[in-house]
């Protein structure tokens, strides 16, 4: 227990003493919030209720958003076909059709599920449930070496790791703050969602929701393990206790929910218009040039992208991946959404259905699960990398994050492939 906690405890003891002397307690009927909290904060039901609501949120995001994604898919596929059929210059037609509409359109297909995740989180936030979730998770968080207040930054990490890491500034204890920052990149941000949606849809039809939530749970479990390891070997001490006030429950309004979701979705849209657009054009360039050698993008094996992919291939080949997966993971360092955008361009397809058919040749359910896991764990994106350096202030700790994430990604993916092969043999 550090100085701040000793002071807080002493302050609350004194407050209790003064209140005891100056206030006469009368029995008061329970408020509505107290009534609900009896169940929601229950020792045994609290965590199952939290997990049930989170699962409902992801089912809502994945299943209900599907027709909107289909509409975007139809639009970009038609636009790409139109561009390739009507632009006379071959290179320009390929750039606009495959690079811009193909690459960018393929990422924008995942805008609706991301927006729906934010709508669900905004509803939970506006009802006043999220602080309760922090309280419910406090015991579990403390057990794994994190602080109760770590829960909110960790939850924000489901949206984007950049604001989540910045939200750690609210934590007073420096050690708790650093540990939370160091494990935050393991929380599955919305940029990884397109990768899960693509591979879960292609290889686990009917169980997409379950597979996707298992990725989120895997991230939470690994963050818990790493927090324990980092505290034990690099910092020491115990997490400080959680003190927080619960707001009353309230009915969220449509306007506040949509405004909150829109503000968060705008981050993705801005990224799509800048980093993802540039990324799509770079990947297009790497996959079609040298123009003559690739025959205008027809023979990918001769492209610059293949050169990069083959350099990475020896490392990832034992996991069952080829050079295309290597290029996708390489570009994923810029922004995680680029993993799917890159695969779309490399396989030369615009629609979601076509990419599912294409990746079915190079992946199977085991390698698909391994790729999803690597995307979850390996290197944080460029923006997160910058924020990590700023918030931690030490290259040593940033280097430690990169080292443990790369190693962990490889080990977990190897375990998945190993178990998968063992089951196949059985």
């Amino acid at each position: 227990m550090d100085f701040i906690d000793v002071m807080a405890n002493a302050r609350y003891e004194l407050i209790g003493e003064i209140l005891g002397k100056s206030i006469e307690r009368v029995s008061k009927p329970k408020s509505f919030s107290d009534l609900v909290d009896v169940v929601v904060l229950d020792k045994y039901l609290g965590i199952p209720i939290f997990l049930t609501l989170m699962w409902a949120a992801f089912q809502f995001a994945f299943s209900v958003s599907a027709p909107f994604s289909d509409a975007i898919d139809i639009f970009f596929t038609s636009a790409a076909d139109w561009a390739k059929a009507n632009i006379p210059n071959e290179v320009l037609a390929s750039l606009i059709g495959d690079g811009v509409f193909g690459g960018l359109g393929f990422v924008l297909v995942f805008l609706p599920p991301i927006a729906f995740v934010f709508i669900a989180l905004a509803i939970l936030e506006d009802t006043g449930y999220l602080p309760r979730a922090a309280f419910v998770m406090d015991r579990a968080m403390t057990k794994v070496g994190l602080h109760g207040k770590s829960f909110i930054p960790m939850l924000l990490g489901f949206g984007c790791n950049v604001p989540a890491i910045m939200a750690c500034r609210t934590m007073e204890n420096e050690v708790d703050r650093k540990i939370t920052i160091m494990v935050n990149p393991l929380m599955s941000c919305s940029a990884r969602l397109p990768v899960y949606l693509l591979f879960a849809g292609a290889f686990f039809a009917g169980y997409e929701g379950t597979v996707i939530i298992s990725m989120y749970l895997l991230g939470i479990i690994l963050a818990a393990i790493m927090a324990k390891v980092i505290r034990k070997f690099f910092f020491g001490g115990e997490p400080s206790p959680l003190l927080m006030e619960m707001p009353d429950y309230s009915m969220p309004t449509v306007k506040s929910v949509l405004t909150s979701a829109w503000i968060r979705t705008q981050i993705f849209l801005k990224k799509a218009a800048t980093i993802l657009f540039i990324g799509a054009v770079i990947v297009w360039f790497l996959s079609v040039f040298p123009w003559d050698a690739t025959n205008g993008g027809e023979v990918l094996e001769n492209s610059y992208a293949a050169l990069i992919g083959r350099a990475v291939e020896p490392i990832i080949a034992p996991l069952g991946f080829d050079w295309k997966a290597g290029v996708a993971l390489f570009t994923g360092f810029m922004a995680k959404e680029l993993v799917v955008g890159t695969l779309g361009i490399l396989y030369g397809v615009e629609s979601e259905e076509a990419i599912i058919d294409a990746i079915a040749h190079d992946f199977n359910p085991i390698t698909a699960l391994a790729l999803m896991t690597i995307t979850l764990i390996y290197l944080p994106c460029l923006a997160t990398f910058g924020v990590l350096k700023r918030e931690l202030g030490e290259w040593k700790l940033v280097g430690l994050i990169i080292a443990y994430e790369l190693l962990l990604a490889y080990i977990v993916a190897a375990i998945i492939v190993g178990i998968g092969c063992f089951i196949e043999v059985m």
Partner: protein
């Protein structure tokens, strides 16, 4: 209220267990194979069971009914989304009704009673 909670407990537990059973290979008619969805229904049933055996029955009745209603509405939205996707793809619309949409009816009395309680408070 407790008798009604026992009815909801039996319905939700039955549906949840059947969904889990189908998920691991059983073939119970009209029930989808969905292990996690089934576990969610079992959690809801546990809230009602807790209300039956404890003194906090009103709180469990309200919270359980709200979560049950959330799931009912969720699966209605999923049903509508699937129909919309079929229409856009030019396929024949097939509606698969999940049992959770029917349990929405069981949640109504609890949700309405809770609404009344909020207006009194």
């Amino acid at each position: 209220m407790k008798a009604y909670m026992i009815v909801i407990f039996l319905a939700t537990f039955g549906i949840g267990s059947a969904e889990i059973a189908n998920g691991i290979g059983a073939e119970i008619a009209f029930i989808p194979a969905d292990i996690v969805g089934g576990m969610a229904m079992v959690v809801i049933s546990a809230i009602f069971l807790r209300g039956v055996v404890s003194e906090e029955s009103k709180a469990c009745y309200y919270v359980g009914s709200v979560i049950l209603a959330v799931f009912g509405v969720l699966y209605i939205l999923v049903m509508l989304a699937e129909s919309a996707s079929c229409i856009m793809a030019g396929e024949e619309v097939t509606i698969s009704v999940r049992p959770e949409t029917l349990t929405l009816l069981l949640a109504f009395p609890g949700v309405l009673a809770m609404k009344k309680e909020i207006s009194i408070l």
